[in-house]
């Protein structure tokens, strides 16, 4: 599923940037009470239960509010380079599997040989899709 797969590459939500960057500091071994606060802030926003007021008036991509994005209260951290988000990985297997199923159906109404080719291709596509690594 996209949210699990893309978790690593997910850039911050509005107003979340500093917390996520702070995450790096957490991993490098800087635990403390601020970290606990960070963690709970992030969880609140990611789950989407109750957006933080500071983040809400922040601008996203195209236009910003009159006062620009507001930085949420939190620990002072060193800004780091934001990772460029990316879309899901490309894959040829959905195409191959769909072609194989259609070929098998065509085989049902035309010639058994086409059905066999379609069935074999279905097996190849399912295995290929299942074993695909990124």
């Amino acid at each position: 599923m996209i949210n699990e797969e893309e978790q690593k590459d997910r850039p911050p939500i509005e107003g979340e940037g500093l917390q996520r960057q702070g995450e790096g500091r957490k991993r490098s071994g800087n635990p403390g009470s601020a970290e606990t606060q960070e963690k709970s802030d992030e969880a609140t926003v990611v789950r989407g239960q109750q957006p933080r007021p500071e983040a809400e008036e922040g601008a996203s991509e195209q236009s910003q509010g009159p006062q620009g994005p507001q930085v949420p209260q939190g620990p002072q951290v060193r800004p780091s380079r934001a990772r460029t988000p990316r879309g899901p990985h490309a894959s040829l297997w959905p195409f191959v599997l769909a072609l194989a199923i259609a070929l098998a159906c065509l085989g049902v109404v035309t010639h058994p040989a086409v059905l066999v080719i379609g069935a074999l291709l279905i097996v190849v596509a399912v295995v290929g899709w299942g074993l695909e690594r990124y």
Partner: protein
């Protein structure tokens, strides 16, 4: 002799992967926007195919004793017209629009299952090609888009079963709809999970855009309605090839079983085809009226009510088969009941535009055209719910008038509203406004000239699916008029195609927000980056982009939600 040593240097430029070539990008894409565009282009291709089939039908019926097509070809053409328009145009078009717009509207980066999404598209393409390839085998389906068994199974001669449609025509149909069903289930699952799991922070269910709401309801309808069609088609294939007789009374089958199974899919299917249109209109009308939608909660939940009720009305397609009186009363009542939530929507749309600062741009014209045409289709639908009236006009051209007002006047008008509204989002360019208005008026005139006389022809007794008619029945002029109307619609579509190509090449740049819109899909570049939003927006009301542009009068400050 001089010698020299060539030192191999490591290549600085690596070879392109297949997925990075132009063709490879499209074949392997899992980006919801590209998949959405592929869905829409494919659906429009099949719309043109289905439209050409419609023109053939109308040309055949333009004059009495028509001989443009032979009877067998005519049967194939009207069967494929219905099948193509429903399964290969309207459904994939809404799936494509949903694919493109829903993740953007809810602030997500993609659909929940990107590869399943790609698979769903490719199945539609190959399923469509599979169905249309039947013409190459001179075996296009010829039993109507509803494929009534036992007529598609076998006839009885003594103790033997004689195939009623011995060729592979209806096998193409049954396998084709099975294939397309796989795609619909894949798409519906993806929409449900995406909408429930990937909404931006703050976007609660009651803040979702109405198009997202209607896509969600439609997805549930698909998940619950399609198994019935799949089962029916599977049983039909078993009857045709393995000697079972689920539908043949002479062999202890039930001749009405097909109709019950088919229509318990078929009537929810009508709402599968129209609920996304309701969603589109509920997005377009407020933007071009400069007001929030009136009665958001009612508009959203009336869609849910329609979804539930749509499973209780299927037998109104079967009043003439001899249902028990109690069943007739039940299905007549439930059919009439479904008019209530539908009317709730229409009144809310009217209240939305009432007192608004209306801007009659092309998307707005198509949305208003939708309301008017769908209202006619809804009202004559209520007339068909009245059992004695239905007896009189069942299987007549009155029914054709009804379904075309709903599906062409309704769904197709909404599709064009959506195309004109979201084209700038997808391409960064505007469709030409003047050509759009010409197309709208041609379509409005064409639809009414084509389909309104069908009411009268139905009342005069002209049966549907008829190959030709005698010149002394009083149907000549109206049939000719309908054919003229069909060609006016074709002219409108040509205007659109010209507009589309010209605007794509030399269209006016749209800017980021050409309509001063309200919802999140406009809160990113046009066209959007592959990842949609660099930062995921946070939502506090039903009009998040409006809030951002108007912080002083933001909905969350002035309205109670």
């Amino acid at each position: 002799m001089a010698t020299s040593t060539i030192v191999e240097r490591p290549a600085l430029v690596r070879q392109k992967r297949f997925s990075e070539t132009y063709i490879g990008q499209w074949l392997t894409t899992t980006d919801h926007k590209k998949i959405g565009i592929m869905y829409m282009v494919t659906a429009f291709f099949f719309f043109v195919v289905g439209g050409l089939e419609a023109l053939l039908i109308r040309t055949q019926l333009a004059l009495p004793d028509g001989k443009v097509l032979d009877p067998q070809t005519y049967n194939e053409i009207f069967t494929m017209h219905g099948t193509t328009m429903i399964f290969l145009f309207v459904m994939p078009m809404f799936t494509g629009l949903g694919n493109y717009v829903v993740p953007l509207m809810i602030g997500a980066r993609d659909m929940a299952f990107p590869r399943l999404n790609a698979f769903g598209y490719w199945i539609v393409l190959f399923g469509g090609l599979f169905l249309q390839s039947s013409f190459l085998f001179h075996a296009a389906p010829d039993g109507g888009w509803f494929a009534y068994a036992p007529l598609t199974e076998c006839g009885v001669q003594g103790v033997n079963c004689i195939p009623a449609t011995p060729s592979i025509n209806m096998d193409f149909w049954a396998l084709g709809v099975l294939l397309l069903g796989i795609s619909s289930v894949a798409g519906a699952l993806n929409f449900v999970v995406t909408i429930f799991k990937l909404r931006a922070p703050g976007m609660t269910i009651n803040r979702m855009p109405l198009f997202v709401w209607m896509t969600l309801v439609t997805s549930f309808l698909l998940l619950f309605a399609l198994p019935s069609l799949t089962a029916a088609s599977g049983l039909l294939l078993l009857d045709r090839h393995l000697g079972t007789h689920f539908y043949q009374a002479a062999f202890n089958g039930d001749p009405l079983l097909w109709q019950h199974l088919f229509w318990s899919f078929g009537h929810p299917e009508v709402y599968i085809l129209i609920l996304p249109a309701f969603g589109i209109v509920s997005e377009v009308l407020p933007v071009f009226s400069r007001k929030p939608i009136f009665g958001y909660t009612f508009v959203a939940w009336s869609g849910v009510a329609i979804g539930f009720l749509s499973f209780t009305v299927w037998a109104h397609h079967m009043f003439a088969v001899g249902l028990p009186v109690v069943a007739q009363a039940f299905f007549a009542t439930s059919t009439t009941l479904i008019a209530i939530p539908t009317a709730v929507k229409i009144f809310n749309w009217l209240a939305t535009i009432y007192g608004g600062k209306l801007s009659f741009k092309t998307p707005m014209l198509f949305a208003l055209g939708f309301v008017a045409m769908f209202l006619i289709g809804g009202l004559n639908g209520v007339a068909l719910a009245i059992v004695p009236f239905d007896y009189q006009v069942t299987d007549s051209y009155f029914v054709i008038a009804h379904l075309h007002y709903v599906l062409f006047g309704g769904a197709v008008f909404a599709i064009f509203a959506a195309i004109f509204y979201w084209f700038p989002k997808m391409t960064g360019k505007l469709l030409n406004e003047r050509l759009g208005q010409i197309q709208f008026w041609l379509m409005l005139i064409g639809v009414n000239v084509t389909f309104f006389p069908m009411h009268i022809l139905g009342l005069l007794g002209m049966p549907r699916r008829i190959y030709t008619y005698a010149p002394d029945l009083g149907w000549n002029e109206l049939n000719l008029l309908e054919t003229v109307g069909a060609f006016i619609i074709a002219a409108a579509i040509l205007v659109f195609l010209f507009n589309f190509v010209a605007s794509l090449r030399q269209g006016q740049p749209a800017g980021g927000d050409p309509w001063d819109a309200f919802t999140l899909e406009w809160d990113t570049t046009s066209p959007p980056e592959p990842y949609n939003f660099k930062t995921i927006p946070v939502v506090r009301s039903r009009r998040p982009f409006y809030d951002k542009k108007n912080p002083e009068t933001a909905d969350w400050k002035v309205a109670v939600h």
